[in-house]
């Protein structure tokens, strides 16, 4: 079935275009056959409806021979033949119609004869136009779908990335612990597995409650805590309203990973990462703040993580979400502001 017929709105739009085309056709027929107004309407209206229906069949023609699939000349040849068939059908219909109308308007059938070439030519041209528009429409649909697919696969790739260096360094810590503190080594194995399993599981989903992102973040920080010991200190302050916001998965975790890699890890004595979350009606604001060594090589501070988070926000929310970066003398602050897709807070 033609996709246009799936929606009433589209059918009405299509018919309104044909009203205009029908008026033009009626004018040309009236001139060619010297019809009066009543005769013109009586003959043009059914023909126009017939044409409108016939032209929908151009979809099948366009679909069976998309440009590029076979040579351009063969496409044109097929289009011409198909248009000839279409106009033959319409002309046959018009012939029967004229015969029938002859009863109401005497002599109409005879006067219809000079209008036949005009009608045939018009049908042929309109059908060709219809095939061409269908070709365009199919091409547009295809590129739209391709764009959607590529964006989707890109997002999937971005979400799936667990930093391999984080993994290798954690495994190295476990390896060190096995001899000095086997219980802690086992503990870290479990936490690392929890983190990996949850990040894979959450990464598959489109949205997760913010509470789940926070839980993932906690597991991640527990693993990093083993590596960095006293150097890594965390201060968390989240509104209770944040928890049931719906957010894309793994949005905050890469920011905290950056804060450790480009902040804490550059400092001999480490420092404190301050995490704050505020819910303001339908807006969620998350701030990640960390100290860093301003003398560390600049290349260390431009991470792939930020770019990926920004792209994902852009793809998902357009202009409605923002990622701001404020670089102070010794502190680095990332401010994330996005629409909260979850339930209304209970006491709003």
């Amino acid at each position: 079935m033609h996709p246009l017929l799936k929606s009433w709105k589209h059918v009405l739009q299509y018919l309104s275009v044909w009203t205009v085309l029908g008026a033009m056709l009626g004018f040309m027929l009236a001139v060619a056959g010297h019809f009066n107004l009543a005769e013109t309407v009586a003959i043009t209206a059914p023909i126009t409806i017939a044409l409108a229906v016939v032209c929908l069949s151009a979809w099948f023609v366009a679909r069976s021979s998309p440009p590029g699939s076979i040579s351009a000349w063969r496409v044109r040849f097929r289009m011409g033949i198909a248009a000839m068939f279409a106009s033959a059908v319409v002309l046959a219909f018009a012939h029967v119609l004229a015969k029938a109308l002859n009863v109401v308007f005497p002599g109409l059938e005879a006067r219809f004869l000079p209008a036949v070439p005009v009608l045939g030519g018009m049908c042929w041209l309109l059908y060709l136009l219809s095939i061409t528009l269908h070709h365009l429409w199919i091409a547009m649909e295809r590129s739209k779908r391709a764009e959607l697919l590529s964006r989707e696969s890109e997002l999937k790739a971005l979400k799936a990335q667990v930093n391999p260096h984080f993994l290798f360094n954690s495994l190295n810590s476990i390896s060190a612990l096995t001899s000095v503190d086997p219980a802690r080594a086992r503990d870290m194995c479990i936490r690392l597995s929890d983190f990996l399993r949850n990040s894979l599981r959450l990464g598959e989903r489109v949205s997760i409650p913010f509470a789940e992102e926070l839980a993932l973040l906690t597991t991640y920080l527990e693993v990093e805590q083993v590596r960095f010991g006293q150097r890594l200190r965390i201060a968390q302050d989240f509104d209770s309203g944040c928890a049931d916001c719906d957010v894309p998965p793994l949005l905050v975790q890469p920011l905290v990973e950056n804060a450790i890699k480009h902040g804490i890890a550059t400092l001999v004595d480490g420092g404190e990462i301050a995490l704050t979350g505020r819910r303001n009606g339908q807006n969620l604001r998350v701030v990640v703040e960390n100290p860093f060594d301003p003398d560390a090589p600049a290349t260390r501070r431009t991470g792939f993580g930020l770019v990926s988070v920004r792209n994902r926000l852009e793809a998902r929310y357009g202009g409605a979400a923002r990622l701001q970066i404020e670089v102070g003398d010794k502190t680095y602050r990332v401010i994330l502001s996005l629409p909260c897709g979850g339930k209304e807070p209970e006491h709003a």
Partner: protein, 248 residues
């Protein structure tokens, strides 16, 4: 007895090296550092035979440390990152351990260390090595210079010009100058050619510092820098300089 030092900012990473080293009978761990600055200071004071060096560390990274301590010490890199040009290290670093590693792999590294310490060090300058290890298309962001046990870090945009002096180069920055053991060619190769121009066989200038160029002798000119310093410009140097200035 091999005197070894461990340089890593993570306690557990040092822990495992200590453990493996304890089972080597001919090795004594004489110290540990948690950052690049300390490592350079420690090495120049205590002169270990062997150091285990992490790459990502506070203050100075492992490459910078290697550049400052020279190559008369056996260096084993220990890192979770495998993307650094291992080829370059085959030349001068004794080995490259990828975290996590097992005792067997560690013993292989130690065998290489003993072999290296047995023969004399290859004469590959550490600075050349660092250049070779740099990913293509990336230029140095900063230069490191050792002055006794002190380390100076010079961001490249603060470098006015460099001058070759025998086996050394003098780096001039903000009215001060620092001597470093490196050739001017290797310095020039490590810097962005769009910002630093070799204007003379023995001189390299920061393009942004050049205020004007005056004729000097028949074939040479003088570049006057914004701080008033005068740098000779050879004929070939002038061609290069003009090309770059024209682009701006």
């Amino acid at each position: 007895m091999i005197r070894a030092a461990i340089v890593d900012d993570e306690e557990l990473a040092r822990q495992i090296l200590r453990e493996y080293l304890n089972s080597e009978e001919d090795v004594q761990v004489i110290g540990e550092s948690t950052n690049g600055f300390d490592a350079v200071k420690f090495v120049s004071e205590r002169k270990p035979d062997l150091i285990f060096l992490d790459v990502q560390m506070p203050k100075l990274d492992g490459f910078e440390v290697l550049e400052l301590i020279g190559t008369d010490i056996a260096v084993v890199f220990v890192t979770a990152y495998d993307q650094y040009a291992m080829k370059a290290f085959d030349a001068a670093a004794v080995d490259y351990l990828l975290k996590p590693f097992d005792a067997e792999r560690f013993r292989v590294a130690m065998q290489r260390v003993r072999r290296r310490l047995g023969e004399k060090m290859q004469a590959v300058s550490a600075s050349e090595l660092k250049n070779a290890a740099q990913p293509p298309g990336q230029y140095a962001q900063r230069l490191v210079v050792k002055d006794g046990t002190r380390v100076h870090v010079i961001p490249v945009d603060q470098l006015d010009y460099a001058e070759a002096q025998d086996d050394y180069i003098a780096l001039h920055t903000g009215g001060k100058s620092y001597l470093k053991q490196q050739t001017i060619t290797s310095l020039s190769e490590s810097l962005d050619p769009g910002r630093f121009v070799r204007v003379h066989r023995s001189f390299l200038v920061n393009l942004e510092r050049v205020r004007n160029i005056e004729p000097y002798t028949k074939d040479t000119r003088l570049a006057i820098l914004s701080n008033g310093a005068q740098v000779p410009v050879s004929r070939a140097g002038f061609v290069r300089l003009k090309e770059l200035m024209g682009e701006r």
